[in-house]
């Protein structure tokens, strides 16, 4: 299908919205009625047609506006994109991975023409047509990682692998769930996850690292993660927390359906060929509570998950103060009927709300 790109904002007047198409394909992260951390990895080799899992790097109606928002963030704070000196080769690997995937998966939007190391890249939605020499930084306006991730939705952490660990040595991070690349760059897997509660004790990170270290070329993996955001604000950075934190206090029973967003990260993992590094794309999807409630199964389930979530997790994810109001709102959409297993909306088979 041809994507109709929205003209929308993720700040100030927050004109972001999801079309009915985008709501139906929203990656709802709960496959059952409760939630606890797990190493919920699966192979990333396509998925249901039209879903966000179908292509290697999903492009949707928010693409152009998200890229505009990223440029604004970088203008204000260039430190959101950094690459330690040894990561340049991985940056070229990433540039190739994204260009090849996008031109193959969305041939009507992107074109890549290669003649040896002479490459021409056409990005129609963003009006870009550049010719450059592969592996020659001087022929691009930015370093290779920055160049391509200014044109690709989601955050991008590029991880070096050495000493049986992964090291966050490069990244483009502007749509993050409250963590700072500038602070975390150079840390290993356990260090950058240090602030996460409960999961260390459960051995989650030891198992997750073991899995990730063994991801090989040609066999990418994926998982979903989630948090909550008031207003469709992509840039929930620690750097700007003193500015956006106050927005969490603006929820009322009247506006919660429109203002409160479930924030889902589609995390994928790819081994990069020349550098043996890993890339960890973290693609953020936002959906307002009132839009989620148009899917009866999601309404029932989200209420139960949020109601029963351990306190530490609600605190870590930053919505402990708003949880009672969320539960009040969500309870209207839970009639106590059982839900079908899995994340899909199942609109044709799940009953309408019985109250």
């Amino acid at each position: 299908m041809t994507i109709q790109f929205n003209d929308e904002t993720f700040r100030e007047d927050y004109s972001f919205k999801n079309s009915p198409w985008a709501i139906k394909r929203f990656p709802f992260p709960f496959d059952k009625d409760d939630y606890m951390y797990s190493v919920n990895m699966e192979p990333h080799r396509g998925g249901r047609e039209g879903s966000v899992f179908q292509n290697r790097f999903d492009v949707d109606e928010h693409y152009v506006s998200e890229m505009r928002d990223r440029a604004l963030v970088l203008d204000n704070d260039p430190l959101r994109c950094q690459s330690l000196p040894h990561m340049t080769l991985a940056g070229w690997d990433l540039l190739e991975l994204i260009m090849v995937a996008k031109s193959e998966d969305y041939p009507d939007l992107f074109e890549l023409h290669r003649d040896g190391n002479r490459w021409r890249w056409v990005n129609k939605p963003m009006g870009i047509d550049d010719t450059f020499t592969f592996l020659d930084e001087a022929t691009l306006p930015y370093g290779p990682m920055e160049y391509i991730t200014r044109q690709a939705q989601g955050d991008w952490a590029v991880l070096d692998q050495r000493d049986d660990n992964l090291w966050m040595d490069a990244g483009m991070i502007t749509t993050q769930a409250d963590w700072s690349l500038d602070f975390d760059i150079g840390m290993n897997f356990f260090e950058w996850h240090a602030p996460v509660p409960l999961a260390h004790e459960k051995g989650i990170f030891v198992r997750a690292l073991k899995f990730l270290l063994n991801i090989q070329q040609g066999a990418p993996a994926r998982r979903l993660n989630w948090t909550m955001t008031v207003n469709p604000l992509l840039d929930t950075s620690p750097e700007n927390y003193h500015k956006w934190g106050i927005q969490k206090t603006t929820l009322t029973p009247e506006n919660i359906g429109a203002k409160q967003h479930l924030r889902v990260e589609l995390q994928t993992f790819y081994r990069l060929p020349r550098s043996n590094a890993m890339v960890f794309p973290i693609r953020c999807y936002l959906c307002a509570f009132q839009d989620l409630m148009t899917v009866p199964k999601w309404g029932r389930r989200l209420h139960r998950v949020i109601r029963d979530l351990p306190e530490e997790l609600a605190t870590y994810k930053g919505f402990i103060d708003n949880r009672p109001m969320m539960i009040d709102y969500l309870s209207q959409f839970d009639d106590g009927l059982p839900t079908s297993p899995g994340i899909w909306p199942d609109l044709d088979t799940e009953p309408q709300l019985q109250k």
Partner: protein, 320 residues
């Protein structure tokens, strides 16, 4: 599924390099490009020898950015279980084979200010691809290559001709020996050591570096072991509820696979750790040969790496 992704290939060249070593060139049967790889990576080659299927790892020695083909060099091991003999004696140009996607257990540390390579004999192969990578991306490197004699020093001629200031060759038969201590003395901060060769050489380089105060993280090594033949033994697989006889010329991992049990693996040479298996019960002696488990784990009787290690005794029960 176990192991890395597979590639269907055709053997397009077989080139004797010296009395013991032969080079094989693989191209994709579908004519497509090979995946790019990083210097030091290996591929696992599947060998169907009658009823027996063997999977052996070999370092990729071609240019990592050359997508037309992969090349490997194989040293004939007359005492081994036949993997190298199969390649030397039974594989012909035009044969179709299956190899794995590249996997790198011996990568360059790209932060290094200088890379110091030590190769022994056939251990030269991973350095051939690493040198090509360094030459392309502009890294500083130096190679010290020890072999028995010029006749067995594969690729020493071409390397010396191409990089006369980087390559130093030493022949055992001429009593030439790497002056390791003086070589390691005075290397600039940020230098990394890489060693690939026989176990004795790896231990010598690692121990000498440690004695001179080199940090463990700056010393890298790789040695693939071929599974060795041994006395047949019986193993019980608890989860799949099967009893399997491990033959003299078969590895424990191969016997498990032959019984139809899907066991994880990657390198099949005792280096990567993927096939690590819990021992539930045993009465006998383990013959541990891997480089993965720590000494105390070997002594514990609780873990085994079935790709290269064996067992002698009455009972062995595995959590598989």
């Amino acid at each position: 599924m176990s192991g890395a992704e597979k590639i269907a290939v055709r053997v397009t060249e077989i080139t004797p390099v010296n009395d013991l070593i032969t080079r094989f060139r693989f191209e994709r049967t579908d004519g497509g490009p090979m995946p790019m790889f990083s210097g030091g990576a290996h591929t696992v080659v599947e060998m169907k020898d009658g009823d027996v299927t063997r999977l052996n790892p070999y370092s990729l020695m071609s240019d990592p950015m050359d997508q037309s083909a992969y090349t490997i060099s194989v040293r004939r091991d007359d005492e081994g279980r036949g993997g190298s003999l199969f390649l030397h004696n039974k594989v012909a140009v035009g044969d179709e084979m299956v190899i794995s996607y590249p996997v790198n257990l011996f990568p360059l540390d790209l932060r290094a200010k200088k890379h110091l390579f030590f190769a022994g004999g056939i251990g030269i192969t991973p350095f051939l691809s690493q040198i090509k990578q360094m030459e392309r991306t502009g890294g500083k490197w130096e190679l010290h290559f020890a072999a028995r004699n010029p006749g067995l020093a594969a690729y020493a001629d071409t390397l010396t001709a191409q990089y006369p200031h980087h390559v130093h060759v030493y022949y055992d038969d001429d009593n030439q020996r790497i002056a390791l201590e003086s070589l390691l003395d005075g290397q600039p901060l940020g230098t990394h050591i890489y060693v690939c060769g026989p176990k004795g050489m790896i231990d010598w380089v690692r121990n000498t570096a440690a004695d001179l105060g080199w940090p463990r993280e700056a010393v890298h090594h790789e040695e693939f072991l071929a599974p060795k033949p041994g006395k047949p033994f019986e193993v019980k697989l608890a989860i799949s509820n099967k009893v399997v006889q491990v033959g003299e010329h078969e590895s424990l991992l191969e016997a498990i696979e032959r019984a139809g049990v899907d066991a994880p693996y990657l390198c099949r040479g005792g280096a990567c750790g993927q096939c690590e298996t819990d021992v539930i019960d045993y009465d006998g002696t383990f013959i541990h040969r891997d480089h993965w488990l720590e000494e105390d784990e070997h002594a514990s009787g609780k873990k085994i790496m079935p790709c290269v290690s064996r067992f002698e005794g009455k009972t062995l029960v595995l959590d598989r």
